[in-house]
Amino acid sequence: MKTKEDFPSINERMPEGHRPDGTPFRILVVDDSMFVAKQITQILTSEGYDVVGQAADGLLGLERYKELYPNVDLVTMDITMPNMDGITALQKIIEFDKNARVIMISALGKQDLVKQALLTGAKNYIVKPLDRKKVLERISHVLSK
């Protein structure tokens, strides 16, 4: 009888959400839409990422980042949110941790805000509707740097 060991392991690959040592990257999702937050979380967890926190506006996102720090590797940040918008939250997160890795999530038509976010220190951005492949590519690219 053939055991699993008899087969080459060409199909085995490390999930993108894991570091070379096998531990998952830790992500904080900041979005006021329950739908978008769920969608991002599903995409990320399916690739082995660990979504360590969710926040429904910029202010809560900032607080959550400070609580989690340094045990958080990346933030996905919506732009238009109540209480504190994503750009202000990004700015405050970077004031707190200049090495913070934040990716903006934006609807189409917010190019000026996206540009402002990139100048403020966002590492990249993703335009909605969210496509699984695009989300994973952008996030793993930012984490690989």
Binding site: F35, L108, G109
Partner: protein, 154 residues
């Protein structure tokens, strides 16, 4: 109302729904209403204010809203709960954002309100002094009407 305001909404509704639902969307005949009209049961509304002002309504019946929410979430949603509402709101958000990008490119300047969602029976909407243009979109999940009432600011 000038037809150039509605085309961007029709195009982006078509594109976004096709992309997020991954289905064929058919566009029905456009019609004009100047009096009050019934709302089907679930309606997301986005307000516009600037060079042009008015509102856009995304109107559908409850079974359609639930089927669209189910398709977008990849799971069966049977009640109009918070997730279903957030999903329809996000659909309205994406369509409006894409349409507005096109209108901005045409030189119109205005701001949007965040989408709000209405659910209920026997609702109707009336517009004073603004005609509404309606474009029905047929999806396998059901009919969604894009109802646009916009005018230039006096």
């Amino acid at each position: 109302m000038r037809v150039e305001y509605i085309n961007p909404f029709v195009e982006s509704a078509f594109n976004v729904m096709r992309e997020v639902l991954n289905v064929d969307v058919k566009r029905g005949e456009l019609y004009l209403k100047s009096t009050s009209m019934p709302v089907m049961g679930v309606a997301a509304i986005v307000g516009l204010a600037g060079d042009v002002e008015g509102r856009v309504l995304f109107d559908m019946d409850r079974p359609t809203a639930l089927k669209i929410a189910s398709a977008m979430n990849g799971e069966d949603i049977t009640t109009m709960d918070d997730l279903a509402k957030a999903t329809i709101t996000e659909l309205a958000n994406m369509i409006t954002a894409q349409a507005v990008t096109k209108l901005h490119e045409l030189g119109f300047r205005f701001d949007l309100t965040p989408p709000a969602i209405f659910t209920g029976d026997n609702m109707e909407v009336s517009n004073q002094d603004v005609e509404a243009l309606i474009v029905p979109m047929e999806t396998p999940q059901g009919k969604v009407e894009i109802n646009v009432a916009i005018r230039e600011r006096a």
